[in-house]
Symmetry: D2
Subunit: 370 residues, 4 copies
Amino acid sequence: MIAKLKADCSLADKAAIIRHIEGQGLRVHVGDSGENPVVSIIGNPTAMLADELQRFAGVESVSLDAPSYPLVSLGSRPGPSVVKVGSVFIGGAPIVVMAGPCSVESAEQLEEVSIGVAAGGAVMLRGGAFKPRTSPYSFQGMGEDGLKLLRDAGDRTGLGVVSECVAPEDVALMADYVDMLQIGARNMQNFRLLSAVGEQPRPVLLKRGLMSTIDEFLLAAEYIMAAGNPRVVMCERGIRSFDTSTRSTLDISAVPVLKERTHLPVIVDPSHAAGRRSLVPSLALAGVAAGADGLLIEVHNNPEVALSDGPQSLTIDGFKETMDTVSQVATAIGRSVAKLSPPAILPPLAEGVPPIADRRGGWADPTNAV
Amino acid sequence: MIAKLKADCSLADKAAIIRHIEGQGLRVHVGDSGENPVVSIIGNPTAMLADELQRFAGVESVSLDAPSYPLVSLGSRPGPSVVKVGSVFIGGAPIVVMAGPCSVESAEQLEEVSIGVAAGGAVMLRGGAFKPRTSPYSFQGMGEDGLKLLRDAGDRTGLGVVSECVAPEDVALMADYVDMLQIGARNMQNFRLLSAVGEQPRPVLLKRGLMSTIDEFLLAAEYIMAAGNPRVVMCERGIRSFDTSTRSTLDISAVPVLKERTHLPVIVDPSHAAGRRSLVPSLALAGVAAGADGLLIEVHNNPEVALSDGPQSLTIDGFKETMDTVSQVATAIGRSVAKLSPPAILPPLAEGVPPIADRRGGWADPTNAV
Amino acid sequence: MIAKLKADCSLADKAAIIRHIEGQGLRVHVGDSGENPVVSIIGNPTAMLADELQRFAGVESVSLDAPSYPLVSLGSRPGPSVVKVGSVFIGGAPIVVMAGPCSVESAEQLEEVSIGVAAGGAVMLRGGAFKPRTSPYSFQGMGEDGLKLLRDAGDRTGLGVVSECVAPEDVALMADYVDMLQIGARNMQNFRLLSAVGEQPRPVLLKRGLMSTIDEFLLAAEYIMAAGNPRVVMCERGIRSFDTSTRSTLDISAVPVLKERTHLPVIVDPSHAAGRRSLVPSLALAGVAAGADGLLIEVHNNPEVALSDGPQSLTIDGFKETMDTVSQVATAIGRSVAKLSPPAILPPLAEGVPPIADRRGGWADPTNAV
Amino acid sequence: MIAKLKADCSLADKAAIIRHIEGQGLRVHVGDSGENPVVSIIGNPTAMLADELQRFAGVESVSLDAPSYPLVSLGSRPGPSVVKVGSVFIGGAPIVVMAGPCSVESAEQLEEVSIGVAAGGAVMLRGGAFKPRTSPYSFQGMGEDGLKLLRDAGDRTGLGVVSECVAPEDVALMADYVDMLQIGARNMQNFRLLSAVGEQPRPVLLKRGLMSTIDEFLLAAEYIMAAGNPRVVMCERGIRSFDTSTRSTLDISAVPVLKERTHLPVIVDPSHAAGRRSLVPSLALAGVAAGADGLLIEVHNNPEVALSDGPQSLTIDGFKETMDTVSQVATAIGRSVAKLSPPAILPPLAEGVPPIADRRGGWADPTNAV
């Protein structure tokens, strides 16, 4: 439920409205929709409350069927969000490409890959230090040593760093090293973990669960935002279907569907969906053409010996070739590919909406943050 | 199972090989793979047969694990097929766009839509005369009257005509009016119907069943080819998954996966997958970017009053806008959009492979047809 | 939409109501719900029609949201239907077991299996003469020769005979030989075939499509009933899901869900769902416990050499053992297993509803047929 | 990979074999298969290791393709496991029924429900204190207060207590109050949580993820066992499919499939699968008939006002009625329903396998524990 206030609603009227709602055990979120302040009621409001609110002086209209994810819903902001990760802006016209190995394996591996993907056109480096593996007997990742290698590679190449966080107790440690925390598909409904990354300021890359509907995906993002962190980027990475010709079924429609429902940026991971290298370029291009704000691509210097996900990793050369076409398709639809040195002025996709700023190691509360 | 013969295998040796296979109750298909003749064994050959064939003078190698759809498999031809429908070539570099209403409703409707889509860049007109509706109480189509309107509209605009055939007994009637017969998703495993369209020369547009794996889809195409008709175009139109945010889940990966397994052209139907207009442009662009050879798009002059599928039909203006971007994305990946007047020389996607020719009303058996 | 008439509605009033509805291009079906006549409106009635009908003298109430499958819906009859197949009654308290090979292969095979399953407790013999195979190169069935063998085996053992019909043009031929026509899962939405079996009097065993919702399944039954044949038995046989540990995923909930929506009998096919022998007994018992009115089980005298579906066929001994426990579970839930000589008086599951009678070779229109 | 040792393998030989395996960075688990000791190699052994082991004096045979879940696999024990939870034994012939509300709401609610389900035939009480809700704005459970109420209700009725644990940091707290820790479907691949419950001695009820394959489900159990806790009970609770007529699709085949792959007990949750009360009895009976070792059923004293899952909760009377038929079906298949006072002698399902003992508050390492 959302109450749209009058443009000239006084501060006293606004306070009375909020007090009334909170008196019923509900929470509120106050935002803007163009000229009008908007009060999102968080919780399960009754229809009677809607009636009551209609009678307040400052209320213009009440929308009972507003979505159950008020903070992430498109209507809660006047335009799409731009999430700042280090010096990278996600959600503007330039498409952000994150690339790197599934798992951090060694300093040599990471150096070769990070230099390769930076040269190829990526602006962020991905790599797993803690791996949530299905079998207890699989390689589980390098842990903090892996994080150090990632940070080092990021600093030397200028690439932003994103890595998966698998447990609440790891959040603080990871936030010391990486620019963006990734929530993996298997943890999309690990609500304690969602709250934990929501209570800190690092931007979050939220991957869709293999079994999750679009609304469940958005509600997971709402968990993070409700805990205080507005810097969420959604990532479609394939769902489970009856079809076994690919590892997962890339739900390409999720891109435009999400764009209709949320202001948050949406990126596509063609690698996990495909499960094998040969399909990755086609799916990457499809993602860009469908309107994705970025791509997350697995790249390995020597996929044959990768400790995990080798078959779906592009070679460094393969990545460069793919990026050439990605760039052309981006241009064809009026966008571009983000470059390592960010442009002085961010292209105005969401006019009038200042990008959400972030400072490494500190908490920035930008004036217009959701 | 496939036996590759020696490049210099004599006619007598070839005959002996085929006689031996047929003596075991199996059928053969003789094709070419570059310089070497290839004998595809159709049926369920034994491993012992493989051993026996190895010992024949003219046999170079036997591949036991060749696919169970020998005629449609990529290996059965030296390159991708080009299917000729009237004056349209599907499978070459130019992307073929088919557009029109879900159902033929009236002469006025069809005139307006056909002129509109021709102006917008389509080269084929789609429209249903016989509708396979889920409920016995829904509009079932105009029947032969609809076919006449389609033919007339096609003749006046120069657009090729494609329409769905729902029963074997309708094949002959439909072939009198349309340039291409469509097999709908619900009939993808109606094997009698597949054989019926396989026994006549009109090209066939085969839509993937909602529940069909890629291999079942290819086996359905094999039914048609095994009955004698090599002019098959595959159409991905969305599969059924747990996700209900779209009518079907467009399996965009099917495009590159099919391209890895078959020489047949592959097109994408964004309309049925999406189920609503606003998503169609994104999915159409994704299809082209992923490598589709064409698009099948529902367009209506007045979607609000359409007898079927109104919500997912583009308006004529919406179609034109979409085509502008489709054209740009096609260019970005080194292709183009097919125009109504076919170029004098077909772009050489599959070098050395003459396109499969077709004559309206007659059966053409091009020398190199599969 | 359904209009419930007053118990004392005069014939003149009833005629006026029906004339008014038909005047809007809709069809009607007049049935009974206890004391009140019920008029089902077939087609897509407008809300305005509901208003208009409310004002007719003979109308007691109008239910706008009545199901779109008026003939098969539970509300269209006062209780569950009993479908008579030869001397077998499906839908009463006794559970009907149909068993036999996937495909008819030879006289010897069929003799051994039919005697075995009759001794084991089956009352109907199943066997395929026309097989809808996924690959054009698989065994396609014995055709009419197979039907003759089935009829002969049925006559000698007293078992009723059911076999799959794959095309409208085969209906007449099949009706000469078998007691019940089966529509396979792949043809559940082959609407021409549904109409064809609906236009003749033989009872129809309708199998659920692999990716059909319950409502689509019921609408397929509606097609048959709308064409004139009320003798339809629904068969749950497994749906397609992401899980590959079984051939299909037996949707056991479909049994109670169907019982909530339709008066038609519901049986379960554990063999196709399981895909392998070892699971069949558990699924058969689950089906009975969940409320199924019958079972369809594949049994082969020598599964190792079966031309199709050998791995999922029970041996004759395995079938007998399974039937022992089936019988005990049936007793535990207050039912029994139907025996070859039908009891003189059918157990009164649907009190006051005379079973739908059938005569081999003729059309019986029982007074209370839906 | 599994190495079967000779029955008379000396201790010295056994030690040499284990040393060799561990020298390659792998772990071992030594168990028995009838007379022969069996060494399960945990990790990713090479084919070369298999060759090496063959040459050891004490090795009888090496099985390379043994499952990747050595501890839970059927072959790792001579028969099915019996898991002891307080005074309840799960996995023997008597079927264990756990019942109670979705969420603990108040002392009054819990008293009424616990007395009701105990009278109705349950031997364990279920109830959620920490709820993993999809929306951040839904009721999240009473927390520790709820646990206290559960413990109190369990002590007063004699019912064992099971409740869901949603985070590793809650494990110790929960183990103070409950007899069995439940891992919910959404956390089935929360590997940190699996390890945490595996490192303590309380038995674990592991629910299948909505889109988890049987093998992923078994690997999740392996995580728990690999961490040291052999007391795992598997719970099928429905998977996600395209069908929306029920909340989830109960995969009834999972019961016999799991029984073919693991020695662990398997129970069925008909409530979450069904999503509505009317279907629960049919699914409960189907579960028992299919071979489940127990049932987990939601029961509420006043479902209309339940804070969560009201629509799918049985009333106390409805539960009692269901239990009457459950008991009869159990008898029909040669089993019974477990009673609150456990029988002096446990029925010998797994002859010669002493049940896994447990002591509340302490860690028991039974001699024959897996």
